[in-house]
Amino acid sequence: MNFHYEFVIFIIKIEFLIVFSIVILTIGMKFIYLIEYKYALKYKRSLEMYLTRLLHKKEQYNLQDLPYDAKQLSILIPVFLKFEKECKNAHWKLIRNDLINISIIPLARIAALRSDVPSKVLAAEGFCFIKNKTELDEELILKLVSDTTPFVYLNGIRAALAYGSKQTIDALILRYAQEPWLAQSSNLKIFNSRQPEIHNIVIQILSQSKDPKIRAACYNILIHFPAEKISYNSLIDCISKDLNLRLSALKFISYVDREQAIQILTQELQDSHWIVRLTAIDKLSDLQAFESVPEIETLLNDSEWWVRLRAAKALRSFGVENELMLKAINIDPDTVKMERSALNYAWW
């Protein structure tokens, strides 16, 4: 028994020693991080001073002169972005191209092969500035887009868009198809004011793919390009059995071809699914399609209260006033029924 107690006391001593060591370790780790931070700030400052000097003296960027410790993406990219935002100097354009080609892209290539998330995110950030396309870079960007970590593939998508080849746009669209939440419109704004060849690639993918998710993603992307430059017949998808594809196609056709859209949307007002009827009302209202007023009026008797309400609001926007419309708009709250999946109507 004595031995037993001796053993227990020994275990307890070890445990207390470990806890005490942890406290010391904690203090040590904090100091290490503070030192790292201090040096990171120092490197950033030295890089900023170097670039400011280049701008001021209109000198050329020279990799050899770059402060040694600033040759890290975590230092280069924040400083680069700062200068991009603040610097309107014409000489900056020359320096930035050299900085990108000589330092940022080579470092991004190395970082993209690492396993940790911050390196891959920085790599994707670096590839966003790519100008000279190579197969190696394309491969690395595809790897980043197909990464399972959201933070990595979100930035990988931006890099894929900046690269702009068929393979990278393909991978990007596949990602959008796999992750429905990405198709939210504020996310799709990265496609705004992109080069026209991007939308040609998207149309090419749309023409070749039979996957409804990919087709829907393509439509959602295309409505962020200037309408006059887009030419694609989406009629067949407007009557697709896949609901999400149908909705995306309807939104697309409303964007590119007003006349045809009004025709189709008017027919869709009688669709069996409420979300299609709702979308049709919305789009007809956006298009100010007065010719569809009689058909919209029939929806004042729709079985779903939110469809009746939307129809009434659309008619009001057209300047129509009648008793049925007023009745639809003043719906008794007791009739609110939670029968339908509003999630279908969410952005994913």
């Binding site: 780790m29 911050p118 933070f151």
Partner: protein, 465 residues
Amino acid sequence: MLIETIKILDMMILWFFIILSSVYIVLLLASIREIFLGYNIVQLSNSIDFMNTRQLPPVTVIIPAYNEEEGIVDTVLSVLSSQDYDDISIIIVNDGSTDRTLNKLTEAFDLYFSYVASADILPVRGKIISSYRSRFHIKMTVIDKENGQKSDALNVGVNVCRTPLLITLDADTLLESNAISTLVFEMLSKSNTVAVGGAVYVLNGCTYDSGKILEYKMSRQIVPALQTCEYLRSFLYGRVGWNIFGGTLCYAGAFTLFNHQTIVDVGGFDYKNVAQDFEIITHIQAYIHEHKLPYSVSYTAAAIAWTVVPSTLSSFWHQRVNWQRGSLQSLMLHKKMLFNPKYGMVGMFTYPFFLFGEILGAVVEFTAYFLVFLSWYFGILDARWVLLLFILCWGFVTCITIATTMISLFTFNKYKSKNDIAWVLLLCFIEEFGFRQYYVVCRTYASIKYLINSLGNIFVSKSQN
């Protein structure tokens, strides 16, 4: 015979606490790296700057409120002050409050009646009476419903929510301005993470106004102050350490981020369980492993919320009895996870630890106190055993609390004043004399009550058959 039995039990209890304290040390070691990693990323690397906010998923904060007229406006304002995250919607579910909760919201945010479509995905009990939107904040929705308990209110919020991510937030909790972005950052920087827990600190004693905390201060009232130590232990190391073992079984219901679809897939929050935060995470863990999904749950000590804790012993008792009963109920519901390799590390390590260590540990400690009394009564009290027991129970926990307080000082330290730091360190000792024993009795009572109720239900169902 009795004396021999007592001696054997003495040894078993001693070894129980040795094993428990060994696990705590492993958790402490595991938590160090995670805490400093989180600290580094948030404070030093400034990776939040890299988050292109146009690409981030929108988030809905669901706030269930029952008789929360005191703090609801501040809570909502604290969410609205999350300036580094653009796309936030708020759904406040007034769960049949009998006070002026709805009136306070109407006055503060200029609410007007508006229809809100809701999915019928999760079953709800309390009928929705009305719904409102705010003229000040386009993305704020208030749902007024009949009382159906917190889980029911959360389920209503989930049905109305249209974003891929949702945060559950208590109505008496204030968020730090970067709390939401830090939570989302944690989720996005790990693959397939479906839930992320945040750290919760004690708001009692702090000065705040319009949802912003003006001064971080420890409460000078003894009951909330003692809970500060417990929250520091729990949130700064207890949950963090479990990250490497596949995540814990319990995050703070006051502040957790979830993937919306996952909540729907597991059937929402369980209205039959008062500890719905424990139940939902346990259920998610079970679901992930049963369906062999490559998902995980995570925790970050860098996302911080401040909540009001009970300030009297009776309200503390009531809260902890509910938590203990709810946790037991949830563990028994998922008892198939116990030592089941199908559930991976969670089944082989996390679940058994929670059951035997966290939940039944209080019962074992209560038994230890009883055995001390019994040993004294029979004149066989072994002073060495008593001393070792108290070193293991009290001394070790005090040591852990001091260690976590030191970790807190060197990382996300919110208590800057020397008085507060001294007060926390003093409380580490005070906690062991009286408060801890009160808590042990409370949890033991709850466990026995649960056991009696369960046996009663079994007896009733058998007699009906």
